[in-house]
Symmetry: C2
Subunit: 225 residues, 2 copies
Amino acid sequence: MTVGTKTKREKLAEREDAIVSAATEAFLEKGMSAAKMAEIAASAGVAEGTLYLYFKNKEALFAAVVARHWESLTEGATAAIAKADSPDDQLEALARYTLRRILADWKLFELSFVLHYPVKEDGVGSDRRGYVRIFDQIVARGIDRGTFAPEADPRLVRDLFFGTIEYAVRSILQTGKNPKLEPVVIMLLTAVRAVLKPGQGQARTPDHAERIEAAVTRLEKLAER
Amino acid sequence: MTVGTKTKREKLAEREDAIVSAATEAFLEKGMSAAKMAEIAASAGVAEGTLYLYFKNKEALFAAVVARHWESLTEGATAAIAKADSPDDQLEALARYTLRRILADWKLFELSFVLHYPVKEDGVGSDRRGYVRIFDQIVARGIDRGTFAPEADPRLVRDLFFGTIEYAVRSILQTGKNPKLEPVVIMLLTAVRAVLKPGQGQARTPDHAERIEAAVTRLEKLAER
DNA sequence: CGCGGCGAATGAGCAACCCTCATTATGACT
DNA sequence: AGTCATAATGAGGGTTGCTCATTCGCCGCG
């Protein structure tokens, strides 16, 4: 095999890539159910049956499209936070990047929920794994450094972080206005810091009312049984 | 028309209800694409063609299922916050209710995103409208009363609120553990308050009396039963 | 009581589409 | 050139959403 010639492996990979690309386009334009396998095949320059050599069925092809998107997202985010140094700055960079990126590729992002059927560990949702890990690492580092409170549960804060971003993007797209990301970033960071740094800045001296309420809540639970 | 006899209108409404109920069951069990119109028809006790007299197509039927779910959610939330008095407590009640309810009906909730295709004002997403309005009203009242800072943008905080809840539920379901809602509520309220009461530190003193009174009132109500 | 009229309901049939599989093409290695 | 394993093909099968000509059920009127 000479240089310039494609090996068998490369050819197969190339083909798979062409299929996924064609599928991405089709799914973006028409959505999961309206996109036709015949069209995708034609657009990728292969026969319909060939699709099924690379992907078990339409759903698997769809999953591949979504997976590729998440990989790209994870890659970009890793690069985006590399410039920042402190966990605080990294969090901000991640917020900004995620917001911008999800806004840009919203349709693709939304598609990734269509599959979402079985809430399984290794299901489609596992595509996010890599992305979410970035956040977890930042928080872990912050706790190590003493920037964040060690009693903070990273998984909870993670939900705050990504949930807010997704919903904010949805809102932005619905109002249709020119997107204003900065207010979202500011609010998000305010919220995240309030949770990650309790007792700081907000100087939360033990709050009498909170403690009494908590006591009452305990009583209420007791009474319910 | 006598009592006990069904009028024509009532019969039609009843039939529509039966169809939607059958459809809900089918969609829950099998998902949007795997659920078959023939099954739904049989389960509802009508012919297949009849479905199309009530709903234009499968998607419209699906949308009706989702809409009904959101109506029920909105109803329940309205009742849940009615007991609370201060905006702070209402927010807490809404958080707790939403969390519990979405957790309970997660499949149905998730289904409501399958449709989500066109990000339109009047699309399927408009089902949430009523629900979201509840939140907005609470915040508006809080701003009126001076409990919340007037410069807060309710729409942003809304995304924080519901986004966090949805993602938290997703996490809870993925870990599969016994659901611990309380930590989520606490974090959520911490975050929301940090945003709604900027720079307020612990100067929440004026609130203490009110909150203690409310807590005691709850106990009193409890004791009455 | 019979009858005509009208909206509601039916279900066989059509068209669309995913997927299979028997057949053919490809190209690496003797 | 011949052989063989692997990749690719696309016509056909089976399923399913949806339509439409037909039938049903109810009501008022003569």
